[in-house]
Amino acid sequence: MSNLEEIISNLTMELRRGTLVLCVMSQLEKEQYGYSLVQSLAEKGMIIDQSTLYPLLRRLEKQGLLDSNWSLDENRPRRYYVLNEKGRKVLNSLVEEWAEMNNTIKKLLENKNGDGDYERLD
């Protein structure tokens, strides 16, 4: 990988990392087990490393934002995660924050004539 590509890939990863919690929490208003969550994120275009997702779920649970329980009804035991009261509040705040940030960044990236398109700086 060339130096430029490496820098871009690292920065992109950092950019994505910050949004992961928001993405994951947004899909947990209904309860989901690990693999179904990967699928539902992937369907919407958010590809997330499995080895990143599951530890993240545990951390969110530890912070008291998610509840989890083992379901034994199916052919194999599965751990289901769902947002709890506190988690929903946090998600709402994050969504607001994201909307605001998105607006700001959009404005910052607009080109001079204000048509909202991004100008490539070559």
Binding site: Y33, G34, Y35, S36, Q39, D49, Q50, S51, T52, Y54, P55, R58, R76, P77, R78, R79
Partner: protein, 339 residues
């Protein structure tokens, strides 16, 4: 098909925190089996309903999860330090200082030991590297353990140097220290080195503090101190010397004198002075055979030497006394002045 999945989960489990291990393993297994089901379902769509799962499918799924080390690492909290970045610079600095001082002390002591030992030189030759290696290993160990304990039990805020006071305002900024309040790094480092060298020699090699004399081609080594009596005083001396080392380490971190540091410095200095005075006031501290050794040699010369020794010894004690009192006075003066 071999038990690849169980092997994988076991390998991850080995690296997980013990408390959560079983739970994570159970969850991981269920997730991997889900992923495998999904893959097989896809293969059936592509290759027909009678597709049989192969080892390759299992491998592909496991590879998509990543190596066991990588997976386990993500389950561990990220800030697991033996010695964190906030302490690391100080740790490196101190390790160099202490290691240097220990190496110096051990080298001096062992070399003198070897040179004046009655055993054949060759037999003794390995002593220096062996002593150096074992002393260095225990030094690195001790410094590391101390820092690891500070990291583990120290308050996060005080390690990071963050003020607990959240109502910070520029008004609370401390004045730039005046020259006499700045702690000089080279002095402090030298003090640590000298104290450690003294600790090593007086505790482990007190016999090398000796009169080395050659009479009629025979070398005689007569330790100056009665080692048992000296050891009695060393118990107390060690407290102050170790105190001095710790104090100097703290001074390196603080960078600036304050009342607590000045008072501690006075306590340590006075403590050392009192023990030195007690030692010099007790004739039993001298090795009784020093007198015998003197009797065996040229009396007149030794008497003269002894006389000179006694005078210079008194001057030496007076200098130490004056110096300590001067230092104590200086610290009291400055600590009053800075208030």
């Amino acid at each position: 098909m071999k038990d690849w999945i169980d092997r994988y989960i076991y390998a991850v489990g080995q690296k997980l925190p013990r408390l959560q291990r079983e739970d994570i393993k159970k969850e991981l297994k269920s997730i991997i089996l889900d992923a495998l089901d999904e893959r097989i379902a896809n293969q059936k769509l592509q290759k027909g309903e009678d597709y049989e799962a192969t080892e390759e499918d299992v491998f592909a799924v496991l590879e998509s999860f990543g190596s066991p080390d990588e997976v386990a690492a993500k389950y561990r909290p990220s800030n697991r330090y033996l010695i964190g970045p906030e302490l690391y610079d100080l740790y490196c600095l101190l390790l160099c200082i202490v290691l240097g001082a220990v190496a110096l002390g051990i080298s001096i002591a062992t070399t003198i030991d070897i040179l004046y030992s009655p055993d054949p030189f060759i037999q003794q030759l390995f002593k220096l590297p062996m002593n150096l290696i074992s002393a260095s290993i225990s030094t690195v160990g001790a410094v590391t353990i101390i820092f690891a304990l500070i990291q583990r039990f120290g308050k996060e805020e005080s390690i990071k140097g963050i003020e607990l006071n959240k109502n910070w305002s520029p008004r609370s900024l401390e004045p730039v220290p005046v020259a006499y309040d700045v702690i000089k790094m080279p002095d402090t480092i030298a003090a640590i080195c000298i104290t450690i060298v003294a600790l090593i020699i007086f505790n482990w090699f007190p016999h090398i503090i000796a009169i080395y004399s050659v009479s009629q081609g025979i070398l005689s080594v007569t330790p100056i101190f009665n080692l048992d009596v000296l050891a009695g005083y060393m118990k107390y001396m060690n407290i102050f010397w170790i105190g001095a080392v710790l104090l100097n380490i703290y001074k390196l971190k603080a960078g600036k004198w304050n009342t607590f540091l000045r008072l501690s410095e006075i306590v340590v200095d006075l403590g050392v002075l009192i023990i030195v005075l007690m030692m010099t006031g007790n004739p039993a501290i001298l090795n009784p055979s020093i007198i015998d050794a003197a009797a065996g040699a040229d009396m007149e010369f030794l008497m003269k030497l002894g006389g000179m020794g006694a005078v210079s010894f008194r001057i030496f004690i007076a200098v130490i006394l004056l110096f300590t009192v001067f230092e104590a006075g200086k610290h009291i003066y400055y600590s009053i002045k800075s208030h």
